[in-house]
C-alpha cells in the first residue's frame, strides 16, 4: 500500500509537469503551414464603445507599421466585425474577419476541408467548426444573412476556439468589468460581407499581420507599438487551454500527496509495531538507537523511491492522453517531456512524504527497550482520564469507540486529515463547476469539457485513495483492538456493540474532517481561481458530499469492524 499511495501521487504530479508547454510544437507547425505572423497589430480595438475609423486613418496606421524597422512582410489590414452565428438552434458570438480571395503572403489560413472564401460563403476556424458541429456545405446565418460553408481552416494569427479573442477588441460590457470573457468563434468572410455586418459605422477593428526579420524581436516590437500582440502571446493563449488542466493536476497531485502522508502515517506505525522483535535483535547485537532508526527509515525511503519511479513512468505514459490540443492546430504534441528538475522535485516529494510519515514511528521503535522489543510487548496505550470519564456517560458503542480512539489519538488525527483532504478536493471541484464561465454551454466547449474530464479523474483518484486509507485504518484499528475487543466481549459487551464501536472509531474522526473540508474546499478554489466573488456550490451538493462521505466511511469500515469482533473471545485472549 505504501507503494500504491506514493505512486498515485507521483503519477498525478508527473502528468501536471508533463503538460507544461505541450502545445508549443503544434503551434510552430501551424505557423509554418500558414506563414504565421510574428506580430498582429490591431487598430480600433480598444475596449468600450466602438470607434469607427476612416479609410485614411486605417491606411496611415498601416503604413507606419509596415514601414517600421525590422518588418520584412505584411498582409492586411483586414477588417473585423463582431456578430453572432446561428446554426441548428445554436447562437454563438463570432469575430468575422474580412479577407481577399487571393492568398496572402503572411497569415494565409490553411484550408483543411473544402476551399477558401468566395462571395456568399464563409470559412470557419477548425476548432470552432468542431465545437459547433458544422461541415463544408452547411448553411449558417451570420448577422441575419445566410452563408454557405465553403471550407474549414486553421490559423496561427489568432488562438483557436475556445479562446476569448478579446485581445483583439472586446466591446462586451462584461469583459470591460472584468467579470468574464466570452468564448467567441472565428470565421472568414469577404471584405464586403464584413462591411455589411458592421453596418454603416464600418468594421470595429482592423488586423495587420507583420513578419519580422528576426521573430525573436517580436516582444520588443510590440513594446514600441501598442495594440499589437506577438506570436509568443498567441502561443501562451493556446497553452492556457492546457494551463487550466495543469493547475487542476497540480492541486490534485498535492492533495493526493497529503492523502498519501495520512495513509502512510498509519502504515508506518503498524509496520514498526510488527518489526518490534527485529528492532530488539538489532539492539541486542549492538546497534545504537540512531542506527535502528536509520535502518527502519531506509526501508521506507527505498520503497518510496521505487514508487516515485513507478509514478514517473506511469505519468509519462498517461500524459499523452491529456495533451490533445483540439482541432485548432495542425500537428500532434508529440511525446510529453519531463525535465530533470521535475523528476527531482517529484522524487524529493515522494521521499519527504515517506520520511515524514515514518520518522515518529521509527524513533519510537528505536527508543523501545531491548528487552521489551525482544519480548514483542505491546505498547502501553496513552491514558486519557477525561475521555474515560466522559465516555462512561455515553452509550456502550460510543464508550468503546472513544476509549479505542484515545489509545491511538495520532491515528484518529490521520484519519481526520485524510477525510479533510478528500472533501476539500471534491468541494473545490464542485466550486469550480459552480463558477460557470460566460459561454454558450449548449455547444461543445473544449476547455470546459477537458476540465470536467480532468476533474472527474482527479475526484475518482481522491475518492479511491481515501477509501483505501479508510479501509486500512479500520483494519489496523480492528487488529490493534483485538485484545480489548475480546475482553470487552468477555465482560459482557455484545458483538454488535463492539462492531459498532469499531466502526465509530473511524466515523468519529471522519465527522470533523467532512465538516472542515467544505469551507476549506471553497477557500482553496477561491485562492486558485483568483476570483473576486466566492464560488459556492449549491447547498444540496455540499450536504450530499458530507452525507456521502459519512456513508462511505461507515460502509468501508463495516466489514473489518465486523470481522474484528467475530472471533471467539477465548481464542483471542489466549492468543494475546
Amino acid at each position: 500500500m505504501v507503494f500504491l499511495v506514493i505512486a498515485a501521487a507521483a503519477t498525478t504530479l508527473t502528468v501536471a509537469f508533463a503538460l507544461s508547454g505541450v502545445t508549443n510544437k503544434p503551434y510552430q507547425q501551424t505557423r509554418l503551414a500558414t506563414a504565421g505572423p510574428d506580430v498582429v497589430a490591431i487598430e480600433g480595438g480598444s475596449p468600450g464603445p466602438a470607434q469607427p475609423m476612416s479609410s485614411a486613418q486605417v491606411a496611415a496606421a498601416a503604413t507606419s507599421l509596415t514601414k517600421a524597422p525590422g518588418v520584412v512582410a505584411h498582409s492586411g489590414p483586414y477588417p473585423t466585425a463582431y456578430s453572432a452565428i446561428r446554426f441548428r438552434g445554436h447562437t454563438v458570438d463570432v469575430v468575422a474577419e474580412g479577407r481577399d480571395q487571393a492568398p496572402a503572403p503572411v497569415d494565409q489560413p490553411k484550408v483543411t476541408q473544402g476551399g477558401w472564401i468566395r462571395p456568399g460563403t464563409v470559412v470557419i476556424e477548425r476548432g470552432f467548426a468542431d465545437a459547433l458541429g458544422v461541415h463544408v456545405g452547411d448553411n449558417v446565418r451570420i448577422g441575419g444573412r445566410s452563408f454557405r460553408v465553403a471550407g474549414i481552416a486553421v490559423t496561427a494569427a489568432i488562438p483557436p476556439y475556445p479562446s476569448s479573442l478579446c485581445h483583439i477588441a472586446c466591446p462586451f460590457p462584461a469583459a470591460v468589468q472584468g467579470i468574464g470573457v466570452p468564448n467567441m468563434g472565428l470565421v472568414w468572410l469577404t471584405r464586403s460581407a464584413v462591411a455589411g455586418l458592421a453596418g454603416s459605422g464600418g468594421p470595429l477593428a482592423y488586423l495587420l499581420n507583420l513578419k519580422l526579420a528576426n521573430p525573436a524581436q517580436a516582444p520588443a516590437f510590440a513594446a514600441q507599438h501598442p495594440n499589437s500582440i506577438t506570436w509568443e502571446s498567441i502561443q501562451s493563449a493556446i497553452n492556457a487551454l492546457i494551463g487550466i488542466e495543469q493547475a487542476a493536476l497540480g492541486v490534485g497531485g498535492w492533495l493526493l500527496g497529503l492523502l498519501a502522508l495520512a495513509g502512510l502515517g498509519v502504515l508506518a506505525g503498524r509496520r514498526m509495531t510488527e518489526q518490534s522483535k527485529r528492532v530488539g535483535l538489532l539492539k541486542a547485537v549492538g546497534a545504537t538507537p540512531a542506527t535502528v532508526a536509520v535502518v527502519l527509515l531506509v526501508e521506507q525511503l527505498t520503497l518510496a523511491a521505487g514508487a516515485a519511479a513507478a509514478g514517473l513512468v506511469a505519468g509519462w505514459l498517461i500524459a499523452p492522453a491529456l495533451t490533445g490540443t483540439g482541432a485548432g492546430l495542425v500537428g500532434a504534441p508529440g511525446a510529453p517531456s519531463i525535465s530533470v528538475s521535475a523528476v527531482i522535485i517529484i522524487a524529493a516529494i515522494a521521499l519527504a512524504v515517506a520520511a515524514i510519515s515514518s520518522l515518529v514511528p521509527a524513533i519510537r521503535a528505536a527508543r523501545t527497550s531491548t528487552v521489551s522489543a525482544l519480548a514483542d510487548a505491546p505498547r502501553v496505550p496513552s491514558r486519557r482520564p477525561l475521555v474515560n470519564a466522559v465516555s462512561a456517560h455515553l452509550p456502550v458503542p460510543l464508550l468503546l469507540a472513544l476509549r479505542q480512539l484515545s489509545r491511538r489519538p495520532r491515528r484518529a488525527l490521520l484519519n481526520t486529515a485524510s477525510i479533510t483532504t478528500t472533501v476539500t478536493g471534491i468541494v473545490a471541484i464542485l466550486a469550480s463547476h459552480a463558477h460557470t464561465p460566460i459561454a454558450d454551454l449548449t455547444i461543445s466547449n473544449l476547455k470546459l469539457d477537458r476540465f470536467n474530464e480532468l476533474t472527474a479523474i482527479i475526484t475518482v483518484m481522491l475518492i479511491i485513495l481515501a477509501a483505501v486509507n479508510t479501509t486500512f485504518i479500520a483494519w489496523a484499528t480492528a487488529a490493534d483492538g483485538r485484545f480489548s475487543s475480546a475482553l470487552e466481549r468477555a465482560l459482557g459487551a455484545t458483538t454488535g456493540q463492539v462492531t459498532a464501536g469499531l466502526s465509530m472509531t473511524a466515523l468519529l474522526p471522519a465527522l470533523p474532517g467532512a465538516i472542515i473540508g467544505i469551507p476549506l474546499g471553497i477557500a482553496v478554489y477561491h485562492l486558485l481561481s483568483s476570483g473576486t466573488t466566492l464560488a459556492v456550490p449549491p447547498v444540496w451538493q455540499l450536504v450530499g458530499t458530507f452525507l456521502a462521505t459519512l456513508l462511505a466511511v461507515t460502509v468501508l469500515t463495516a466489514i473489518p469492524s465486523r470481522l474484528g469482533a467475530r472471533r471467539s473471545p477465548a481464542q483471542v485472549l489466549q492468543t494475546e
Binding site: E488, R489, L491, G492, G496, A570, Q571
Partner: protein, 247 residues
Amino acid sequence: MTSTRSLLRASGLGKTFGSGAALVRAVDGVDLDVAPGETVAIMGPSGCGKSTLLHLLGGLERPSGGTIELAGQPVGDRSERALAHLRRTAIGFVFQGFYLMDELTAIENVELPGLLAGRSPKAARTRARDLLRQVGLADRSGFLPSALSGGQRQRVAIARALINQPMIVLADEPTGNLDSTATVEVLRLFEALHESGQTLVIVTHEQRVAATADRLISMRDGAFVDETRMTGGSRGNLAKLIGLGGA
C-alpha cells in the same frame, strides 16, 4: 453448605477443534453439577482441557456437543447477544493473565462491566469503590495496573468479576502467574467469597487452591476421571497447613 438444586449443569459437554486426522477433543463428554454456594475446583495437567471447559461454561466458546444450563436456562445454544447478556449479569470471569486494561486505573477497570451492563456511571463507581475496599485495595483505586503487584492486579480482576453480582464466578488458573505471597492473598479472597455464599468454579493445577474447595474434580484428556468431596472445605487442617486461617 450446599443445596441439592443445580445452579450450573453441564451434560455430555464436548468441544472439538480441527477435523479429520487433526481432530482434537479438548472436552469430551463432561457432566458437571454445581450447586448454589458451592466451590468446585477442577484440576489436571496442562492441556487436559480445563480452560476450554471453563470457556464453554462461561459462554466464551460454543460447545460442539452437549448442553449447559445456568439456573435452569439453557446456555449453549443461545445467541451471541444472549450470551453477552449472561456474561454481564450472571457470570463473572477471573483470568490467569488478569486481563486488565493497561490505560485504565484499578477503579476504572472494576467499573467497566458495570457500565457495559448499563449501570449509571455513579452507581458503577460506587459499587467499584466498595468492591475494591472489600478486596483490600481501597488506597490503590487510582493506580494503573503497571503500578500494582501481581497479587493486587488479580484482586482488582476479582473485584471486576463481582461488579454485577454474578450468580457464578469462573476462575481460570487465578494464581498461575502469582508468587507464593500473592497466591495466599488471592486464596484468602476466594475463601471469603466462598463463605459469603458465592458459587465458584476454579480451574487450577495447584493443590493449595484445590484445598479451598468443596469438591475437587480431576480432569485428563478432556474428561473427568475422579471426583472428591473435600471435608469441611477450607475449614479443615489442610487449610491451616498451607497458610490459610482455618476453623
